[in-house]
Symmetry: none
Subunit: 412 residues, 2 copies
């Protein structure tokens, strides 16, 4: 497209803390990242709290916040974004869940939460349960990858403050979902529907031909569907309406694709981007550059750093940072003079904790006309002295859109 | 006055971005400003977002925010502050507009939006339309400078979400104002009143002796009044009530004078301060110092930097910064030991964009007992490392009033 454009590249979980095996450096500090460092040297940098200082963000809530949607207002659970991410129609007020196909015995005790990581036939199983009516609620179910799926309940007076039917442990019986607050009639109704749905899924799936064939092969039957992560589908202004930008996403996980889809972004698929440490990140870079032909805002999430963090593997995280560095090099060489690159992370996943923490992450804005500061390296501590100082995630889009000169002035 | 006092000096639009013709420096960085730099060296500095990071502030919304009034709560349009600025009585709930005297033909097609920039006789024209009743609404109109004026509607059930009657272009017919949202009955009523007023203004002005005389001289008649910029007059606590300070303003533009007046500040006129690049800024400095005799808070806005920014004239902006530097020198020499000086800008108006941007601006607090930091120069990038770090405009008055020791403690 003509005019100012931007790529917002979010390195999932890339933030970290000092790691002893790296001589007290973070992975980003230890990695050899000449392109990220050049980006910082030519840009304006600082620290960013994805939601607010110290808040441990999920990837979903963090992305919402960075894209300018207050997660406290729009996020009640992961379900609606997950469902949207696999292409389900999710409407304001729907209650949606993430689900697993699981294997249970005749007493509904869990034998395998992931039904032998079933790969084939879940579309047929999904068709068997999709579209049923329970009370005045219509139930939509769709399979996702492997044993995963999503459930959408549509009907009057539903709430999302319900417990999970999934007991999250082998050898336990399935749980009855119930409203977290007994006086919350809307959530009690949802729990009632869910409990009927779970039992009906067992009745409809236990003798399904797909499962008969699995059992004949010595595989566990995918004979029940267990919902979790209930959320109410929020009303949001689409990204294009909110900012006047034509957006596309180049992301690896269903979770982030779900958010991108929910916000109305075009979804660019990169078949060789597998979300792992060996993902084809250069193909993602190519896809981002190509997407700028007919979009002026690209959201990208590259997942590997988070995986290395959850694994507690410092060497892998260093190496993955160096792989992302090549992506930055490619982007800096390929974009035109009117394009901004914003490089950051959605949260820290430190080697030491193996889970998300509330530490701030580094952020650099690179492109025409920025107030270049004295920061020379892109990492958690080098950016502390930068011109951005310390901002919250919700400041990212205002800062970017005024640089791109697409933001309305407030006042005279 | 005795005791702590403060001068809040806001350099309109002084913030900027790196300018190629200045060797990649901003005008403040390029300018020779020994007094501003001394102020920073003896004070505590940082970056300030007038409204919030990245938000493109107008001068009006920015001044409200810096003075401690949330513009999202009190600002719906420019009209009420404009009307207050020319001395009209504006009451909570009134809907007010900025207006032009314009010249139209008999078909109400615009011949000149500014009625030949009429200078004389507008008070008589205003008297002809002021005070009329339309439905249950009383209409107040007062002339301002040249072709400008303000309209205040007072009556029950008025809204301000209306379109402009001014078509903003020569050769077009006047527009019928209408409610932006058709279901907004209050704004629909306002639109109805405005449309009657505009037509009545034509009937009352077209044959007015002032216009007959103009036509005899070959000048365009000021034969219609076109409102724009509707806003609802908000309830605000006056500045003196809010802070316990006795305030005066030394400002150059009607827009900022309007805000000062609305907040109940005394207005100190400096006849030689013309709002231009050649304004008598030293006379403004003298007026500020003198006003401290019987006030303990002075708001000053010096306009020139914004003009140079809108003109894209880097050299003029550098030169004007040096003129303001002399003002700071004068103030530092003239005030007593109990006086604070706060130096900042209301927004950036970069040479490169010629319009307001959402970049943060520099701010320095100077006076007794501040935590002097290591910043040695007053400009966008030197202050980044300062003790103030990065704050929003609404933090300025709390920081200042606790330094002045006039703020109540919250809690025990």
């Amino acid at each position: 497209m003509e005019g100012p454009k931007a790529i917002l590249l979010i390195c999932d979980g890339m933030g970290d803390r000092p790691v002893a095996s790296l001589g007290g450096r973070t992975p980003l500090e230890a990695a050899n990242t000449p392109n990220m460092d050049a980006l910082a040297a030519q840009g304006v940098s600082g620290q960013m709290d994805p939601i607010a200082p110290g808040i441990r963000a999920g990837s979903d809530t963090s992305h919402l916040s960075i894209l300018g949607y207050d997660p406290y207002a729009v996020y009640t659970g992961r379900g609606p974004f997950e469902a949207a991410g696999i292409g389900m129609d999710v409407q304001k007020g729907d209650v949606a869940f993430r689900c697993n196909f699981s294997t249970v015995d005749a007493n509904l005790v869990i034998l395998d939460r992931r039904a032998g990581r079933i790969e084939v036939g879940t579309d047929q199983l999904a068709a068997a349960v999709n579209g049923m009516k329970i009370e005045d609620v219509t139930v939509f179910f769709k399979e996702s990858v492997a044993h995963r799926g999503a459930l959408v309940l549509r009907g009057p007076g539903l709430g999302a403050a319900v417990t999970d039917a999934d007991p999250h442990e082998v050898g336990l019986g399935i749980h009855d979902a119930h409203a977290i607050d007994a006086s919350d009639a809307a959530s009690a109704k949802t729990a009632r529907i869910v409990n009927v749905f779970v039992r009906k899924s067992y009745e409809l799936l236990k003798d399904h031909p797909v499962n008969k064939a699995r059992e004949a092969d010595g595989k566990g039957a995918a004979n029940i569907i267990l919902p979790r992560g209930a959320g109410v589908a929020p009303h949001v202004d689409g990204f294009e309406k909110k900012y006047g930008l034509k957006p596309a996403s180049v992301v690896e996980t269903g979770l982030i694709a779900g958010i991108a889809k929910y916000l109305g972004m075009d979804i660019i698929e990169v078949p060789t981007a597998n979300g792992g440490l060996d993902s084809d990140v250069m193909a993602m870079a190519d896809a981002m550059v190509k997407a700028l032909d007919d979009h002026n805002f690209i959201l990208s999430n590259i997942k590997g750093g988070d995986i290395a963090g959850h694994d507690g593997d410092a060497a892998a995280k260093v190496k993955f940072a160096e792989r992302v560095d090549a992506v930055i090099g490619k982007l800096m060489k390929s974009v035109d003079k009117e394009t901004y690159i914003v490089l950051t992370a959605d949260h820290s996943t430190p080697i030491s904790t193996k889970d998300h923490t509330g530490d701030p992450v580094a952020i650099t804005f690179w492109g025409p006309d920025v107030r270049v500061d004295s920061v020379k390296a892109f990492d958690e501590r080098s950016v502390v002295s930068g011109g951005i100082s310390r901002i919250s995630g919700t400041a990212v889009m205002p800062i970017l859109t005024q640089l791109m000169n697409v933001q309305e002035k407030f006042g005279a």
